[in-house]
């Protein structure tokens, strides 16, 4: 019998707040899980937002190859094989707890539980935790199963339970929420039978924490969760024809808030990483790819897997799919970008792989997006459409917080990184051209010729 797999994604969880000396949350459960598993300390997500990141995790391919295009939010190309497609052939049963709308991307299989999709604002504390525990305690899960859980608890707007809303549980709302999550993870993981189940705990992307301490004082630009929820409930009722107006108001409000924040920040002596965290807004036109939004935790626990092991090398979320398949002794498809991490478990030689990274465009308006690469030494990204624009290069060894853009003073490294990026893109584009792939617009033109459009 194949092992069960529980795939737990905690949306927006940063690796430095999961396991690092800088964390201030209370996490006895996470600490205990770390002691019982293998932790990858430098895991890089392919994208800074959920859908593109999912596409990478569950296909083992970089986002632009999966068909889920960041520019149009197309569905997953049906010829792209997912982890679920592979496991289906091995008679796995699929269950999930995913936020609603997840079903629209064409990535997930048909789940066997009726409550597979939950309301966006449901967190572990207000219902989701109990649902998961009930399911794990029931006899309803047919084995072998693959249970996907995606918690939105750390996603903006964050609402911390009163019990955890004080400095004993973390110096800011984000870390307090992690303490709250830890309490629920304790309850959930107690129900897992690790003798026949592999637990994978990771995140889709990181985030900016909009709260910092300066001279002993907290500057908190966190979005008020209660106001946000009320606004969301109200705006959902707005008729379709008023949506353009609604969107206009949203952007105007965001702009107003950014200006207000800028005015406060200008009076403070802040480092670039502190400034960008505080000032980041949902309607920002210029997108970036800093580590706080890309570096995620990856912890794997299972029978016969190394315990209390920490792996410092850079790995990528695209590596998760081949690793999972390797763990249950299945072969990975040949056309994926990910590489199994099993050699790292056994301390065999492991060559670091370059991480391709991509920012996620705004849905309601145009944004200036970037693409790039990351190695354990350098981070490079630039404008998605123009290699000469908005070039960023950071030396991660000497400047891990990415405060000093050295692109202008390190031409050689910039050119080298651009070449690596070009290789990744061109290899795919050439292969694609051979296959005579057509985009939606081209298909529409062909259908027009046939008189169907």
């Amino acid at each position: 019998m194949k092992q069960n797999i529980i795939f737990l994604i905690i949306d927006s969880l940063r690796s430095d707040k999961f396991h690092d000396t800088s964390k201030t949350s209370q996490t006895p459960t996470l600490d205990n899980l770390l002691k019982n598993g293998t932790y990858f300390e430098q895991t890089i997500s392919s994208a800074d937002a959920t859908i593109l990141s999912w596409s990478s995790i569950f296909t083992g391919k970089f986002p632009f190859k999966s068909g889920i295009r960041s520019s149009k939010f197309n569905k997953l190309s049906s010829k792209t094989q997912t982890l679920f497609d592979i496991l289906k052939k091995q008679n796995y049963h699929f269950y999930s707890y995913l936020p609603k709308l997840s079903e629209t991307v064409g990535l997930f299989p048909e789940f066997e539980n009726d409550d597979a999709y939950y309301d966006f604002y449901m967190g572990l504390t207000n219902g989701l935790g109990d649902k998961i525990i009930k399911k794990l305690c029931s006899n309803e899960l047919k084995e072998p199963y693959f249970l996907t859980i995606h918690s939105m608890d750390l996603h903006d707007p964050i609402s911390v339970d009163e019990k955890f809303s004080n400095s004993d549980f973390g110096e800011n709302y984000y870390e307090q929420k992690i303490s709250e999550l830890d309490f629920w993870l304790s309850k959930i993981t107690k129900k897992i039978d690790f003798s026949n189940t592999i637990l994978i705990l990771t995140s889709d992307h990181g985030c900016y924490i909009k709260s910092i301490r300066k001279n002993g004082k907290e500057i908190n630009f966190n979005i008020n969760a209660n106001i946000e929820k009320t606004t969301s409930k109200f705006t959902k009722k707005i008729p379709q024809f008023l949506h353009p107006l609604k969107n206009k108001l949203f952007f105007a409000r965001e702009k107003l808030q950014i200006n207000k924040k800028k005015s406060i920040i200008s009076k403070l002596d802040l480092k670039p990483h502190e400034k960008r965290a505080l000032i980041a807004g949902r309607a920002d036109k210029d997108h970036f790819l800093f580590d706080e939004c890309l570096k995620v935790p990856l912890l794997i626990i299972g029978k016969n897997l190394p315990k209390n092991k920490k792996i410092p090398q850079q790995v990528r979320t695209v590596d998760i799919l081949p690793t999972v398949l390797d763990l249950i002794k299945l072969t990975s498809p040949l056309d994926i970008d990910g590489k199994s991490l099993l050699n790292l478990f056994t301390e065999k030689e492991f060559e670091e792989n370059v991480a391709y990274i991509e920012s996620t465009p705004l849905v309601l308006s145009e944004s200036n997006d970037v693409i790039g690469i990351r190695t354990s030494e350098f981070k490079y990204f630039r404008d998605k459409n123009n290699p000469q624009k908005r070039i960023h290069l950071y030396s991660l060894k000497s400047d891990p917080l990415e405060n000093n853009n050295i692109a202008d003073v390190n031409d050689d490294q910039t050119i080298k990184c651009e070449q690596i990026l070009q290789n990744i893109i061109n290899n795919f584009e050439n292969k694609n051209a051979e296959e005579d792939e057509l985009n939606t617009e081209e298909i529409e033109n062909e259908l027009r010729k046939l008189g169907y459009v």
Partner: protein
């Protein structure tokens, strides 16, 4: 043995069985008059035929999904022949129609300006040379002029609810008759040329219609690719070679059975490295097997959008006697007794509950990917 595969795009079964030349060819061939197409439009239909598998599995289940064809999982007719050493040549109407994997040369004709008969005669002359050079060949010919006429005179003039169109069924039928007669003449010219070039001795000739076409039977579908009624999903397939006995088979088969049949006749083994076909060879039926074959179809009703939908929204399952339709877009269901109501006018969904329940389950099973 070589293969010439001819698609008469949009040929209706009621005209085929009465066509001047078609009739003569049917009398010499193994002919399946109820070859139920997976999709009543060419893109979905041809991908299912060429892969022997329903489009919900191969990825091509809509007008839009040609690039989604899972070529690494489903081996196509052309790829089979290519891998078996055939020179593979084709002439098609549009680049969305066929999975191109395996073609040595696939040209696209201009359906409005090109003379298809002359163009295809010239291709026959090319394959004759290949034959004389001792090479096996596969030639795909797509006759698209029924489509061209329908596109110019129906699709561009009317919408799916135009009163003027649906109230003039006789005129529509007359217009279609002209288009069909031209198709019949084309077929005659091509087959006679094959005989003249002595290609028929060692060439299997397959002639199919990919789907039928409405002449105004049902309001809401001025041509095809909207509903799943028999006037569009009842296509035909014909296999002509001296090794095959001439038979007119009226039992229901499926267009996905065409590929396994060709491989069976050409003695090309099924490649175990690819997914299994949904279809089955028709040779056992020619040898007397009467096991019923259930057929699954999917179509894309554009409703009032002016564009076909990106996902199929009309699903149907058909047996020799019954048809069950599920309209995904509005949740309604239909059930027809095909023996007593071939025009599908009397919806028995609330009357024949047991049959509906059984077929609903069949549909669910076939529609799962």
């Amino acid at each position: 043995m070589n293969l010439i595969f001819i698609t008469i795009d949009g040929a209706r079964v009621d005209r085929i069985v009465n066509g001047n030349f078609y009739k003569k060819l049917i009398n010499k061939s193994a002919f399946f008059s109820k070859t139920i197409t997976y999709a009543p439009y060419t893109i979905g239909a041809m991908h299912a035929i060429f892969s022997g598998t329903y489009g919900n599995k191969t990825g091509v289940d809509s007008y839009w999904s040609t690039p989604d064809f899972k070529k690494n999982e489903y081996k196509t007719l052309v790829k089979y022949l290519h891998d078996a050493g055939y020179v593979t040549i084709g002439d098609s109407i549009n680049k969305l129609i066929l999975p191109k994997n395996g073609f040595d040369e696939l040209t696209i004709h201009d359906e409005i300006n090109d003379d298809l008969t002359q163009r295809h005669l010239s291709l026959l002359s090319n394959v004759e040379k290949l034959k004389n050079d001792g090479k096996n060949f596969f030639l795909y010919l797509h006759y698209s002029n029924i489509h061209t006429g329908i596109m110019q005179q129906v699709l561009k003039k009317y919408d799916n609810f135009s009163k003027e169109y649906f109230s003039n069924k006789n005129e529509n039928a007359k217009f279609y008759e002209i288009l069909f007669e031209n198709a019949d003449k084309y077929l005659e010219t091509i087959i006679l040329e094959c005989e003249k070039l002595c290609l028929t001795d060692d060439t299997l000739i397959v002639v199919i219609s990919d789907h039928g076409i409405s002449i105004g039977e049902k309001l809401g579908e001025r041509a095809y690719g909207v509903f799943c009624y028999d006037y569009t999903i009842n296509a035909t397939s014909l296999f002509f070679h001296k090794s095959l006995s001439a038979k007119f088979i009226k039992n229901q088969v499926r267009s996905i059975d065409i590929l396994p049949t060709i491989l069976d006749i050409l003695k090309i083994p099924i490649d175990p490295n690819y997914e299994k076909f949904d279809g089955l060879s028709l040779i056992p039926i020619l040898n007397g097997d009467t096991t019923p074959r259930i057929a699954f179809s999917q179509s894309g009703n554009p409703l009032d959008s002016g564009k076909p939908p990106k996902e199929p929204n009309v699903w149907a399952v058909r047996t020799d006697d019954w048809k069950f339709i599920l309209n995904i877009h509005d949740g309604t269901e239909e059930l027809y007794d095909l023996q007593n109501d071939p025009d599908e006018l009397d919806n028995l969904i609330d009357i024949k509950v047991e049959i509906a329940t059984r077929l609903r389950l069949n549909l669910k099973e076939l529609a799962s990917k």
